[in-house]
Symmetry: C2
Subunit: 262 residues, 2 copies
């Protein structure tokens, strides 16, 4: 009974989130398991590194699955071609590898890297996709100053979705920075874990504070309150992408981040 | 009665081409004129630099239109915001300028620059869009060699859509080159005019010749035949984008091409 691990990409736009639902709605996990079932004639249960919300994208979602009796070698490129042929165009498998049985896509993860993309330009473009479009100028220095107050281990209750039931609110942010390429503004956050809606609430709050000409230090005060009502609005999901899940316990998080495209 | 000129962008995927049709199908021109009519309460007729096929994109389509009695200043950024607010998300206006009455979006054009984008990679990705995905390696040198035979003034009958009725088959290609950025292969062609389906048939034929291990010189022979039946298949429209329309008679075409993003 081998265990496999795969890297999954998806455009979240037309999915009701990653997690399979009992009802008949379109989810990433539902479509993935459907493709597996067509290929293997087995029900294969997949475990994701974490769930992503409706509309959120992934370029580096990690998934593991176990296979019972099955003479398919999932590490064969041709099997991945077949699976990508079966999957809808808005999701794809980059690779599948054999893994140890003690690897767990969710529990073994030590870091997650999310990127929020903003386009700031006078006029929107038909080609603005997977981003939040903002007509106003966005001050990258302001955002970086605000983000700096989040680094380290904190209770992030102020930035969770109100309806979250998970009682653990402590996350450790390793890296949070904003950079600009022309009209594209990227906000990158690497943490050991994230609360539900956390990146989007952080981004929405910083943009709100900037718009209201409040100081970037206000973010520190909001963090301390541990009260969602003190934070700003949740930025829309289409700007958010899960870029990478980090499993190497010994890695320097800054380095893991820098190596994202290598 | 002022004349205006505008730059239009659209993702062709969900349009039945640029040109307005009598029936109720979704076209770029149809949607643009609908937005104008909503804003101005007038029927405004738009003239495009040229039509693009169903599925073909544009980042630099040029359109002119005349306005009768109307106290709207179309060059006001806020009017462009309004129009972009009225337009569907897969099309947008980059700018609107006042123009001379002797300017004509189609007839004044002296050059057009089309780009065909290919992604060549082992596995397709959910983020491969506006491109032709090819699993096999693509030889950029081979493509450049083949393209070199097209430079200059030729009868391009071999590369037109069979059903074209326009009797003028002579086009002058100023520039045709292929370059590669990682797994992205871009084929750029600048000409005074293009026949219907011409770029896509050139691309489809070159890829076909390469696949069949025929020499790039074969493209020269196909060109000389002036017979569509001698050419290869038409590459799919989703890879093609109208990048720029050139109006300056005195410009060096190579320079106009290099300046595309400036």
């Amino acid at each position: 009974m081998p265990r496999y691990v795969l890297k999954l990409e998806y455009k979240g736009t037309n999915f009701s989130g990653s997690q399979k639902q009992l009802s008949n709605i379109r989810t990433v996990q539902g479509e993935l398991e459907k493709a597996f079932s067509t290929l293997t004639k087995q029900n294969i249960r997949t475990i994701f590194s974490g769930r992503t919300d409706a509309g959120v994208h992934a370029k580096g979602q990690i998934v593991h699955f176990d296979v019972n009796s099955c003479n398919i070698d999932f590490t064969d490129n041709k099997i991945v071609y077949s699976l990508n042929g079966l999957l809808p165009v808005d999701m794809s498998i980059a690779w599948i590898k054999l893994s140890n049985m003690d690897f767990h896509a969710q529990k073994s993860a030590v870091g997650r890297f999310y990127r929020y993309k903003i386009i700031s330009r006078k006029q929107r473009s038909a080609f603005d996709e997977d981003c939040l479009f903002i007509r106003e100028n966005v001050d990258v220095e302001y955002i970086n100053k605000a983000l700096s107050f989040l680094i380290g281990e904190h209770d992030f209750s102020s930035f969770k979705k109100v309806k979250t039931s998970n009682p653990a609110k402590i996350c450790k942010i390793y890296l949070a920075k904003c950079h600009k390429n022309n009209d594209e503004i990227l906000i990158d956050i690497v943490a050991n874990r994230f609360l539900y809606g956390m990146v989007r609430t952080i981004v929405g709050t910083i943009l709100y504070l900037e718009r209201k000409s409040l100081s970037p230090e206000s973010l520190k005060d909001i963090l301390k309150c541990r009260n969602r009502a003190k934070a700003g609005p949740t930025a829309s999901p289409q700007g958010l992408t899960l870029m990478k899940v980090i499993y190497d316990k010994n890695i320097n998080m800054e380095m893991a981040y820098e190596n994202i495209f290598s």
